[in-house]
Symmetry: C2
Subunit: 313 residues, 2 copies
């Protein structure tokens, strides 16, 4: 085990892949790994990449990483591709991997797919664990790609230092992000597929919604106004500007003190997730007791109200 | 308070709206309301309606309810429209309400929007509470419309007796439901906007994915094979068949004993949600303690690993 950890700190990729699997499993060994590697973490720039299905996130990540490596060939970059799994999504995951094949061959790039069927909280927990390992292993930039939907927007904001929200024209009759509520967490808005019809309308709508959001968020006086960058990821267009903007955001975070704030928030979120995982195990243990099952049966028979049931438990 | 409850049981709509607000607030009064009304619940057919943004769920709900009332004018129908809220989604909620304006005028129809910024678990909890009140108030059919994304598919399956998953052609380069993983929970698949180009391809893809899902789900031998119904909700096309199919599913559930099973699962889920809410309050209380904050600071400084932090807490 110690040899494995040493190998990871020295940049051994196979050792890294094995450690990540241990951490994903969340068993005793995985916990031990995190305990040992944790003090080495805290240097990487964690970037969340989110947006609706069909916005071209994987292609954008591929082009962005190529651009980052062009600017600085020494940089070590990792990609965590998170997929809310279903028996059906095997194809989608495979498709994502194909879209990233260009960067997958670069020696300083490490790509990891995470497909967890568990609760969203569980996914965030495992993602944080994997990010910590990659951070400790010396990756400078870690991109976490998720399908931005439902509750995950809150989660990704607590996972990353910078959040890219990816939009594209014509994904539905509304702008997807507006309904899912992910615009608020964007540090950089990427309008991908900018060569498509309808891009002007989408851009205008994004501008309007952003300014509306700023008008409503009176309580926090942010100094960083999220820019809207147009890209055509399949051609790499706009990705140089995006790579530069990400660096600018990192500098802004450090100078403003927000980096530390987000780091603190991230750690608090992780500890809370682990705490709730423990509680959830408590619930599972309770479920196995005959008394709990009898109380639940009384609720189903409408003999006991749900609140009273919680009191009894 | 007792007068209010009596009024609700007698069908007073304003009293109903007030009680629902109390239940949504989840305060002492809301709990008391649920305790009193709970024994009167357990008769309604709860139907979840989910699917990607842009699939036309609200329009479908509007047309479906019209059809249900044509078949049986005595039926009392309620719609709970759940929206993962953002400062930006006011427009979307308003849009949904406009799409349902036809049924909103019918005296036997009650529509309630729920826009909660809280955690998804909180949303499910509140939705269950509201559904229980409507159930106790004598509504025969309760439609719960949610944006199907991320984790909510698991939640909606534990909220409803029947689940409609709504798809439409051309919502992205994948079928949205496949990525979000909601096909597995569909009792009835609705392919809306069936007059649009590409409907054949989408239908074929749905058939393929459904059969794939069945091949993989070897462990449970379901007798109900989810049908795929094509609709053009704006024209009401296919909605008569859909209304009939919903009735068929209710009959199937009763005859197979699945109705009771789902009801049991639903109650267990609600009690668990309330239990976890209690735990979450515990966490908030802990956060206020100086000792907890010091432990979290140690984690941020990488002096204490997250797992050790949970142990200390």
């Amino acid at each position: 085990m110690q040899a494995l950890e040493q190998a990871v700190l020295e940049g051994n990729r196979r050792a890294l892949a094995r450690l990540i699997t241990l951490v994903e499993n969340e068993d005793t060994e995985g916990r031990a790994v995190l305990d040992v590697l944790f003090p080495h973490s805290g240097k990487a720039h964690l970037v969340g990449v989110t947006g609706a299905s069909g916005a071209g996130k994987s292609t954008l990540v591929n082009s962005l990483v190529k651009e980052v490596l062009t600017r600085n060939p020494e940089k070590k970059v990792a990609v965590i591709a998170v997929d809310p799994t279903s028996p059906f999504s095997g194809g989608a995951v495979l498709g994502d991997r194909i879209r990233m094949r260009e960067i997958a061959e670069a020696p300083q790039v490490f790509i990891r797919s995470m497909a967890s069927r568990g609760a969203l909280g569980g996914l965030a927990r495992a993602t944080q664990g994997v990010a910590l390992v990659l951070d400790a292993a010396g990756f400078d930039l870690i991109l976490i790609e998720t399908v931005g939907a439902g509750q995950s927007e809150v989660e990704i904001a607590s996972l990353a230092h910078s959040v890219l929200v990816v939009e594209a024209p014509g994904l539905g009759d509304d702008i997807q992000a507006a309904k899912a509520g992910i615009l608020e967490i964007a540090d950089i808005l990427v309008l991908n597929k900018a060569d498509r019809a309808g891009v002007e309308a989408t851009e205008m709508a994004l501008h309007t919604m952003l300014s509306l959001g700023y008008a409503m968020a009176e309580d926090d006086e942010k100094q960083w106004a999220p820019p809207i960058l147009k890209t055509v990821a399949t051609e790499g267009e706009g990705c140089m500007r995006l790579a530069g903007m990400l660096e600018e955001h990192a500098i802004y975070l450090h100078q403003s003190g927000e980096w530390e704030q987000r780091d603190e928030k991230r750690m608090q979120h992780l500890v809370q997730a682990l705490f709730e995982q423990q509680r959830s195990r408590d619930w599972q243990q309770m479920l196995e007791k005959a008394k709990t099952r009898e109380i639940l049966r009384q609720v189903t028979r409408r003999e006991l109200s749900p609140y009273r049931a919680v009191e009894r438990l």
